[in-house]
């Protein structure tokens, strides 16, 4: 069965390019450009992975991960950020984040990571 991934990042070009790349590689991918849109999708569908940016326009990525815990929504979590902030990484680890990845993102490397963590 294909893996199902949610990409959460406010840059629509980032989302569309990554979504297309992963879909073309048999990873069923959706995207959301805000925390609110991500929560709606997570509440409605089940995902194997959530790949989320730390910086979002409405809330930060950690708040979405925390909300997932409260709502008992399970998925493997990958956090993206431009900065390697120790505090953020520690909080993310506490929230069950499997991997922290620093931007820029190479789509093929993310695909490899997803396959590795599945």
């Amino acid at each position: 069965m294909n893996l199902k991934v949610l990409i959460v990042e406010d840059d629509i070009v980032f989302c569309k390019l990554l979504t297309k790349y992963l879909n073309n590689n048999s990873v069923n991918t959706n995207d959301a450009q805000s925390a609110e849109a991500a929560k709606k999708l997570l509440a409605a569908e089940t995902f194997d992975f959530v790949v989320i940016d730390y910086k979002l326009p409405d809330e930060d990525g950690l708040a979405v991960l925390q909300w997932m815990d409260q709502e008992h929504i399970e998925a493997r979590k990958i956090l993206m950020s431009r900065f390697e902030d120790e505090t953020v990484i520690r909080k993310a680890t506490d929230l069950g984040v499997k991997k922290f990845i620093k931007k820029p993102i190479k789509p093929n490397e993310l695909l490899e990571l997803i396959r590795e963590l599945k």
Binding site: D11, I12, K16, L17, K20, R82, K103, P104, P107
Partner: protein
């Protein structure tokens, strides 16, 4: 590809072009209509010969000058035209507007199935690459844009392939307080990793929302198109009309001219109702710098006039407007036989519905002169030949723009997009002579605006070069 090397900047690498990312799915599976393909392959001489045969008053020498013209500023353009007729059946294509950042590649079926980058490749390799090779400036390559990512990623990846180097793809949004692009001493820089600013020698520009607020005249970075093209009529509709008027005056004796609806410039807000009366209680109001169907109002009733006036009062009080004659929906008995233009409309469908449509024709300057590049049509929502539903807006009858403003960005109304493929094209009722006529109208509009840009800006840019030399 490296996604998000910094906020809203991606690095596109050679080999990144993916056709499914740069065409609508419907277009990817379409086949160009043979008549359209034939039209696109005709030589300049064939266009002129055929046009002059049907328009014997036209001077072929003047047409040759226009089709072989080398634009200084406006090297890539798109016109929106309407196919109209009058009460004596004198059909023609009339220019509604000319655009210096036209969209359309994603709606154009492949001309050659073996060239998967299609029109993206023709524009980049035949128009942009030769200019860049001659441009003596240091730096990287970029695409700067504020909408239409589907086409702009396509341009960036085609650029990367054509030049064999990485291309910065940067969003240059008018509302971004800290954009990843800036001009310093008239040279473009793009923010890269670790807040490093990269100098850019040449950039493909698709910045459409008030681009003059952040792109300077006389850019040292080669831009396709430079801002001068927008300011001389490629965006500003009043300037475009001045350019067309100059053109028509210049070529009056050559039997050619740009067709436009009757137009009035610099109309004050309070004077708009007088034009409504004078034009027979119908007209089009345009905010000169509007685009994508925003800021354009079709008025066919007192109620619509009132609503438009209310909306226009939100604009700055010093704004002036452009008023145009409305192209009617149908033949009107008793109206002036020559002046009462109405839409030809699509061929009636099985339910006998005929719709107003426009024709978007994109062109580019090449070593063979100005050539057609891409073409498609869009139809209105409501049919011309059936009663309007109660409470419907006249925009639904006449407006053809597909853009729908949504919170996440720009979307479009797929049902109304009419491809020039074997399935859709015949529904437009156009023949090869109309396409030739439309291309010549479009080339004339491009020529006119470039000449207007030269008149407006050459002295400014020349002085700039003198001071800096």
């Amino acid at each position: 590809m490296k996604l998000s090397i910094t906020d809203h900047v991606h690095l596109v690498e050679p080999g990144d072009f993916e056709p499914s990312e740069h065409w609508y799915p419907r277009v990817l599976n379409s086949n160009i209509h043979p008549l359209v393909s034939h039209f696109l392959h005709l030589t300049t001489e064939q266009y002129i010969e055929r046009y002059c045969r049907l328009n014997p008053q036209a001077n072929p020498g003047a047409l040759k000058e226009i089709l072989n013209y080398q634009p200084r500023y406006f090297k890539w353009s798109g016109t929106d035209m309407m196919h109209i007729t009058n009460n004596i059946g004198a059909k023609k294509l009339t220019v509604i507007e000319t655009n210096s950042c036209p969209s359309g590649q994603k709606s154009m079926p492949l001309l050659d199935l073996n060239v998967e980058q299609g029109g993206y490749k023709r524009l980049i390799e035949d128009t942009f690459l030769p200019q860049v090779e001659k441009h003596d400036e240091e730096g990287a390559l970029a695409v700067i844009y504020d909408k239409n990512p589907m086409e702009n990623v396509g341009y960036a990846s085609t650029l990367a392939d054509a030049f064999g180097e990485d291309v910065y793809l940067a969003k240059f949004d008018k509302n971004d307080p800290d954009p990843p692009a800036k001009f310093e001493d008239k040279k473009l820089y793009i923010r890269s990793e670790n807040d490093q600013w990269i100098p850019i020698r040449a950039a493909f520009r698709y910045v459409t929302q008030e681009p003059w607020n952040r792109i300077p005249v006389g850019s040292k970075t080669l831009l396709l198109n430079p801002i001068e093209a927008c300011l001389a009529g490629g965006r500003n509709k009043s300037e475009a009309f001045l350019a067309y008027s100059d053109f028509n005056e210049k070529f009056k004796a050559d039997g050619i001219g740009i067709n436009t609806p009757e137009t009035f410039l610099d109309v004050e807000l309070n004077d708009i109702p007088e034009y409504f009366e004078a034009l027979g209680k119908s007209m089009v109001i345009k905010v000169p710098d509007s685009n994508a169907g925003q800021g354009v109002y079709t008025i066919t009733s007192e109620k619509e006039l009132e609503q438009a006036m209310k909306a226009l009062k939100q604009n700055p009080p010093e704004d002036k407007y452009l008023i145009q004659q409305l192209i009617y929906s149908n033949y009107i008995d008793g109206a002036d036989k020559e002046k009462a233009w109405y839409h030809v409309g699509t061929i009636p469908d099985k339910k006998n519905r005929s719709y107003a449509f426009d024709l978007r024709l994109m062109m580019h300057y090449t070593s063979s002169g100005i050539r057609p590049l891409a073409i498609y049509s869009r139809r209105a929502k409501l049919p011309l030949n059936q009663p309007m539903p109660e409470g419907a807006d006249s925009w639904d009858l006449y407006g053809t723009n597909l853009s729908v403003k949504q919170t996440e960005g720009w979307s479009y109304d797929d049902e109304r997009l009419m491809l020039y493929d074997i399935r859709n094209f015949a529904n437009l009722g156009l023949g090869i002579d109309e396409l030739i006529s439309g291309f010549i109208q479009s080339a004339m509009a491009t020529y006119a605006i470039d000449q207007h840009a030269i008149k407006k800006f050459d002295h400014v840019n020349y002085e700039f070069e003198s001071i800096n030399s």
